[in-house]
């Protein structure tokens, strides 16, 4: 890719990225605003970050969000990896196409519908809404992303590596932990990070399934903004953006590296 950008391409690129990221950039910039008025620039200051950390309600919401994200991402990673293994490994079992479709469905399902149906389900089984219902709801939402990432790695996995391990005396379980798992680990970590960030910034499904004492950061921010914009919320959002960006970038790098490695080791 040494070809130089033409003027037209350059313009398209700038406008495209501006369209996508200008609002976010604006938010980040205003989180460093010295003025209390959100839309008036009053000089550079980090005071709102200080205020944010002293705001107990926001900090409490952040702590809830973090716990939910960790729990649901962990669950989603285990379940998603198992699903990926089943879908790639056990040949063409009865209903495989249906299963594949069903695993991917939550990716394209409108969040309102996922949120609503989960709410109805939790009410039906009599589970009190709160921390656990959000965590479970997020697990169903994010599991498919883990499956997609891990499955794409398993497709390029050289099965003779596992055969070689078994041939050398390793039973199936030890083969999995000594050979398969280390080689697909980067894609599992990438899947975890994706699940984590998705859970972190979800508003719709969380608000359907939330209950007393389980206010996540996105819910808190949303309700605060309805009462009026505050620079503290800008600061909280800026931090959230930072974490999500980091998660996605690391996940992408891990997936890329493991794909490159698979290519290099394939003969």
């Amino acid at each position: 890719m040494t070809r130089r950008l033409s003027l037209f391409n350059l313009t398209s690129l700038i406008f495209g990225f501006a369209f996508l990221y200008l609002p976010i950039l604006l938010l980040v910039v205003y989180s460093f605003n010295a003025s209390r008025l959100v839309t008036v620039w009053g000089g550079f200051s980090t005071q709102w970050y200080g205020a944010l950390f002293r705001n107990e309600a926001l900090m409490e919401a952040a702590w809830v969000t973090l716990r939910i994200a960790l729990l649901s991402a962990t669950l989603a990673t285990v379940l998603g990896t198992l699903a990926a293994l089943a879908l790639t490994r056990y040949g063409r079992f009865f209903g495989r196409t249906l299963f594949t479709g069903m695993v991917y469905a939550p990716m394209v399902m409108p969040e309102v519908i996922t949120g609503l149906s989960l709410l109805l389900f939790f009410v039906a089984i009599g589970l009190d809404r709160g921390f656990w219902t959000i965590a479970l709801a997020h697990t169903t939402l994010t599991m498919c992303f883990v499956t997609v990432v891990v499955q794409s790695r398993l497709m390029t996995f050289d099965r003779s590596l596992e055969e070689a391990a078994m041939d050398l005396g390793a039973p199936p379980l030890r083969t999995f932990f000594a050979v398969t798992l280390p080689l697909i680990a980067p894609s599992i970590v990438a899947g975890f990070l994706l699940a984590f960030t998705l859970s972190l910034d979800d508003l719709v499904i969380a608000s359907f399934n939330t209950g007393p004492g389980a206010t996540t950061l996105p819910i808190k921010i949303y309700s605060q903004v309805r009462l009026g914009l505050s620079p503290e919320v800008n600061a909280a959002s800026a931090i959230l953006i930072g974490i999500v960006t980091l998660g996605v970038v690391v996940a992408t790098l891990l997936t890329k590296r493991s794909a490159a490695r698979a290519r290099r080791d394939g003969h």
Binding site: D158, S160, E163, M166, D167, L168, G169, A170, L183, H267
Partner: protein, 379 residues
């Protein structure tokens, strides 16, 4: 060593116990039959080659030995033990994979130590065994490297060392030299033979390369469409092929089709459109009847090409013109077109550096062969 090798022929000893025994093995994948009711014995210390075109079932046969496939019907025994239901990780068999299948996240020494660790050997013994293997394949200096940092030839050696480390009763090698270039392949062939001889192990090699099989094997099993076409020493396979498929698959051959006229003084007389006079063939083991359609197989190096007409008592004279000449250095290949339209391949060793007035393109030539140079193959 040559003398030792010639004396080694357990397959011709009726009292010898085979190490591996395939008994009426059939393997089907859905409707496709990969191996069809095949029986075969392999003896301890043998260097055994499974040779055949791709899709002939040779790899399936090997994977059944390793335990990755189960036979649909029949029994495989190893040293008298029935292998049915024994998983790959409990078989005293190791395999060198065609792709080498080196673990990319482990160094060379960790790769070689992997099998020994599974056996729970003490650390000191693992270390010394790994060192011994590294010495055997001459890779001592690369112990800490990772597979991605090695050349193709080095990877091949690591794969071999890893498969040998557990000192299996039986080593399986799936196209072991397929990924190497020609020079390296030839050197490695002899190295494999030396290692096998030194360790006294039984080797079963799958290959589609007949030259490789001829060089290395004590015996070769030629496979075709799930059947054994012939199991014999390289010499027998080459000089006494049982069928036309084997004659054509192993080495080059000229096939002359004809009909049996009868027997005279123990020699067969065969009428063929390729020659004016009937051919005389010395192949006493064949049982043929008059009028039977047969194919006569003659190897190119057993034919003699000459410009001057042979004497009136000469047998097996074919006439034609030189169609092509290929100079290979050690050999010259002549392609001779007969009046019948058939093209013969005749080779001549270039024993001297200069030949006066050599046979040239488009020349009329005579091609002859001795009665015992040919093999009759029943059609």
């Amino acid at each position: 060593m040559g003398a030792v090798r010639r004396a080694f022929a357990p397959w011709s000893d009726p009292n010898a116990k085979p190490l591996i025994s395939f008994e009426n093995i059939t393997k089907r994948f859905g409707d496709a039959v990969a191996v069809d009711n095949l029986s075969l014995n392999i003896f301890e210390g043998e260097f055994f080659c499974l040779l055949g075109p791709s899709g002939c079932g040779k790899t399936t046969l090997m994977r059944m030995l390793a335990g990755f496939e189960q036979p649909t019907a029949g029994r495989i025994t190893l040293a008298g033990q029935d292998l049915a239901g024994v998983p790959p990780y409990r078989r005293p068999v190791n395999m060198m994979f065609q792709s080498y299948a080196l673990f990319p996240h482990m160094s060379v020494e960790k790769n070689i130590a992997f099998g020994l660790k599974q056996d729970g050997l003490p650390k000191a013994e693992i270390t010394s065994r790994v060192e011994e293997m590294l010495r055997l394949v001459q890779l001592e200096r690369l112990a800490k490297r990772y597979p991605s940092q090695l050349s193709g030839g080095q990877r091949q050696r690591v794969a071999l060392a890893r498969a040998l480390a557990k000192r299996p009763k039986l080593l399986l090698l799936d196209e072991p030299l397929g990924a190497l270039d020609k020079k390296l392949r030839e050197a490695t062939q002899f190295e494999l033979m030396d290692i096998q001889h030194e360790l006294g192990m039984t080797f079963v090699v799958v290959t589609h390369d007949q030259e490789e099989a001829m060089t290395m094997a004590d015996r070769i099993a030629v496979m075709d469409q799930g059947h054994l076409a012939q199991v014999a020493t390289p010499g027998e396979i080459y000089e006494q092929p049982k069928t036309r498929f084997i004659a054509e698959f192993v080495g080059d051959v000229n096939i002359l089709e004809g009909n049996v006229m009868g027997q005279e003084n123990g020699l067969w007389r065969v009428q063929t459109p390729s020659a004016d006079a009937p051919l005389t063939i010395d192949d006493p083991d064949e049982v043929l009847h008059s009028g039977q359609a047969v194919a006569i197989a003659v190897r190119p190096e057993k034919m003699v090409i000459q410009r001057d007409p042979p004497g009136p008592n000469a047998r097996n004279v074919l006439t034609g013109e030189v169609w092509d000449i290929g100079y290979l250095g050690d050999w010259t290949v002549y392609r001779v077109k007969l009046a019948s339209g058939a093209i013969l391949r005749v080779t001549r060793a270039n024993a001297s550096r200069f030949v006066e007035n050599p046979i040239d393109w488009d020349e009329q030539v005579y091609v002859t062969f001795a009665p015992n140079a040919a093999v009759i193959l029943a059609e």
